[in-house]
Each structure stands twice: as C-alpha cells, then as structure tokens.
C-alpha cells in the first residue's frame, strides 16, 4: 500500500471488524494523526456497544402462539381451499351446463330451417298411364272404383302430413313394377290368368321403417272348382265386391 492519508485510513477503520488489526501503514498514520486516532477510538467503542446489544428474547408463549396460529391458519386455509374449490366447481359446472344448453339451442335453431329446406318433397304419385296401369278398371266395374288415387303435389305438402309419413316410417321397397294385367290379356289368354296358384305359401315381409321387420306367411288359397273366367266377373271384380 502506498501513502496512507486520512481518507484511506478512515475507510480502513470503517471496514475493520471487531478485533481486526489495521495494517502497519494505517496504524502508523493513526499514531501520528489525532483526528484519525479519535475516529478509531470511536469506532472501537461503537463496535463494542453494538456487539453487546445482545439478543432480545422471544416471549415465553411464543411456541404456544405459533402452534395456535399454525392450527388456525391450517384450518382456515383448508376451509378456504375447500370453499374456493366448491365455488370453482359450482361455477364450472354451471358454466358447462350453460354452454351445453346454448350449444343445443344453437344447433336446433340452425337445424330447423335447414331441415325444412332439405325436407324431401312430397313424392308425386303420378297417375298411372292407362296402358301401364296394373289395375285397369275391370269390365263392368264403375270407373275408378279400384283405380289408385293419383295425388299430385300442386302445393307444398303440409308439415303435419310429412311428419305423419315419417312417423309411420313406411318406405316403398319395390324396385320393379308390378306386372300389368290387361283386359285383352284376360280375354285372349284366359288360361294364363296370372294368379299364382302354386301350393307354395305366400310370404309377405314388412318393414316398419325402424329396423324391425315382420314376415307374414299366408297359407295357400284354394279356389276350388269354381271357374273364374267362365263367369263374366273377373276375380278382380269379386275383390272389388269384397267377396274375398
């Protein structure tokens, strides 16, 4: 260390801990400088006073109070935590419910007009062309007695009808047209009257549109020896009369 002036010595004195010895140069300076000597003495005294301040003791009931505080805060903390959880859970549940409800309402509101728009048009059952009609009015029968009713969708079908149709769930499962029996056929080929008189039972399978199907077995019908075509009435006429 070079020359020790008062400022350097003062720094050294302030930095020295209790019991520390100053450097030789600083000690020499202090011996020759009254101001620094006084300063050093004051610091030594102050260091002693501060070091002897002692420890302030905690109160006797410190442990007891601490235990009580821990217990109180623990209980309060647990209760607060539960409350927080309960509040949070309740809020979350309510919010979820609201979101689900709102979502459902939104989907329904979006779906209804779309559903109406996409609703299949009421199928127009065209009146069968006379030549192709499977049920040509039989001879002698009143016109249109057994003719299927031709429904033309002149106006958009009412929703109630459509929904009724959907409720019943009927579907046209036929992929081919029914054979057409013409009057001329009946007269020209009397023996070829197209009634299946085979002894095999007729089975009718019905589908209710909901996936359940039923099969009805109709036993063989015997007409006996009655001549169907010798009489002027055809079986269709009989059918129309309700003899079957």
């Amino acid at each position: 260390m070079g020359t020790m002036n008062c400022q350097n010595v003062r720094r050294a004195i302030e930095a020295a801990d209790r019991g520390d010895l100053l450097s030789v140069a600083a000690a020499e300076h202090i011996r020759g400088c009254a101001v620094c000597e006084k300063l050093n003495d004051e610091h030594l005294k102050l260091r002693d006073i501060v070091a002897n301040l002692g420890t302030v003791k905690a109160p006797e009931d410190f442990d007891f109070r601490l235990r009580a505080r821990l217990a109180r805060e623990g209980t309060a903390g647990a209760r607060t935590g539960l409350n927080k959880f309960a509040f949070g859970f309740r809020s979350l549940a309510f919010a979820s419910l609201m979101v689900v409800f709102a979502g459902t309402m939104l989907v329904m509101s979006l779906r209804s007009p779309q559903q109406i728009a996409n609703m299949p048009e009421q199928p127009t059952i065209e009146a069968p062309v006379a030549a192709a009609s499977p049920f040509q009015p039989p001879i002698g029968s009143p016109a249109g007695a057994t003719t299927p009713v031709a429904v033309t969708a002149d106006r958009p079908p009412r929703r109630s009808e459509n929904s009724k149709r959907e409720r019943t769930g009927s579907r046209d499962m036929a992929s081919t047209r029914a054979p057409v029996v013409r009057t001329s056929d009946l007269t020209a080929h009397a023996t070829d009257f197209p009634i299946d008189a085979s002894p095999k039972a007729v089975k009718v399978s019905m589908d209710d549109g909901r996936g359940s199907s039923r099969t009805i077995s109709v036993p063989t019908v015997s007409f006996g020896s009655q001549r169907v075509l010798s009489q002027s009435n055809s079986p269709l006429v009989a059918s129309a009369r309700g003899a079957w």
């Binding site: 003062r10 905690a58 601490l66 821990l70």
Partner: protein
C-alpha cells in the same frame, strides 16, 4: 496408485455429504422430519431460532410486538414451505432471508403509512435515501447502568434510522455476528457490496452516536 472409484473415497467426501445424512439433529434433518409430519422436530427448530429471529427483526424494526408477530410469520412460512425447501444453503441462511424480507416489507409499509419520526431528515452522505437525525440527549445521566441502557437505546434508535439497505447487513454482521459470505447469501448480493454497505453503515452510525462515544 489407487483409483478413486466412488465419491466416498475422495478426501473431502465428508464435506460433500448432506448434513442431514450425517447429523440427525441438524437443521436440515429437523426440517426433513417436519416435512413428513414430525411436529416435535419443528418445535425443536423453533426453539433453536425463535430468539435469534425475534431479536434480528426487532433490531430491524425497533418494535418488539411487531417483531414477535413477524418472527411467528417467519416460522409459519418455513413450516408451509417445508416441502419446497432445498438443502443448498444452511437453514440459518434460509430462515434469515425470510425474516429479512418480512422485516423490509414491514419497513416499506411503514414508510408508505408515513410512520416516520418528526425530528426531520438528514440527507445521507452518498446522496441516497434520506436518513433521520437523532439528536443526542443532553440531560445528565445518574447511573452507569442507566448510561448503558440509554446508550443501547440510542444505538437501537440510530440503527433504526439507517436506510434498510445498510441496516440489514450491519445488524447481521455487527450484532448477529454472521459471516460476510452468509450475509451475501441472505441478502442475495455480492460480498463486495455487503462489505461496502457495512462500512458505510458504520460511518453513519458513528456520526449519529458521537455524543455517546
């Protein structure tokens, strides 16, 4: 030449072992026991540090009742954070750091509430925070014991007027007798800064205590 195969063979292995393993009555071991629910271990920790922490906070705040409350808060925090405690440093460093933070928070709260002395301010030497001035009491002192008591109180008052950044290291070093290294860990500053602040604090204190020296 023997090959050192494990850490146990190292000459300084004992220094590397965690204190908790070697000494079951160490602070680390007690806190570990507290962590698993041993209330007696925590009570032992409290009995070891309650006076030190109360005294330290009292020196910082000059308010005994407040110091007791803050000391209790310190232990409450230690208890609550027992699961997160890591044995990187000494437990004393850890608990003193908590106490220091609580004390400084309290001092700042007081400052916000304007709970300061009406004796006025003197600007600090380094142009930093203003420091209060405590005039010497000129009345005659009848007894040596009273002189000592008065002197201690004066020191306490003088310390309480120091800016907090000087107060904490001064108390930790000159009152509590902590090492510079530990103080730097407690205050989370470098050792050089700690030494510098302690020197300045001593200078401030001497100026305030001239009448008693």
């Amino acid at each position: 030449m023997d090959t050192i195969s494990t850490i146990e063979n190292l000459p300084f292995a004992a220094a590397l072992r965690p204190e908790a393993i070697t000494d079951p009555t160490s602070d680390h071991a007690l806190l570990e026991a507290t962590r698993i629910g041993d209330e007696d271990a925590f009570a032992e920790l409290v009995s070891r540090y309650r006076n030190q922490i109360t005294s330290y906070i009292y020196r910082m705040t000059s308010d005994y009742d407040g110091a007791v409350d803050l000391a209790q808060e310190t232990f409450v925090r230690v208890y609550r954070a027992a699961d997160r405690y890591q044995t990187n440093y000494a437990f004393s460093t850890y608990i003193y750091r908590i106490a220091t933070n609580l004390a400084i928070s309290e001092l700042r709260k007081r400052k916000r509430r304007k709970l300061v002395s009406l004796t006025g301010f003197y600007q600090s030497r380094d142009g930093g925070e203003p420091i209060e001035f405590n005039p010497a009491d000129d009345k005659p002192l009848p007894d040596v014991e009273l002189v000592d008591t008065e002197r201690r109180q004066a020191v306490q008052r003088a310390i309480s007027t120091l800016p907090e950044k000087y107060r904490a290291p001064l108390i930790l070093r000159d009152v509590e007798g902590r090492s510079y290294e530990e103080i730097s860990r407690i205050l989370e500053t470098s050792e050089g800064t700690v030494k510098s602040r302690i020197s300045r604090a001593r200078g401030f204190l001497r100026e305030k205590m001239t009448a008693y020296l």
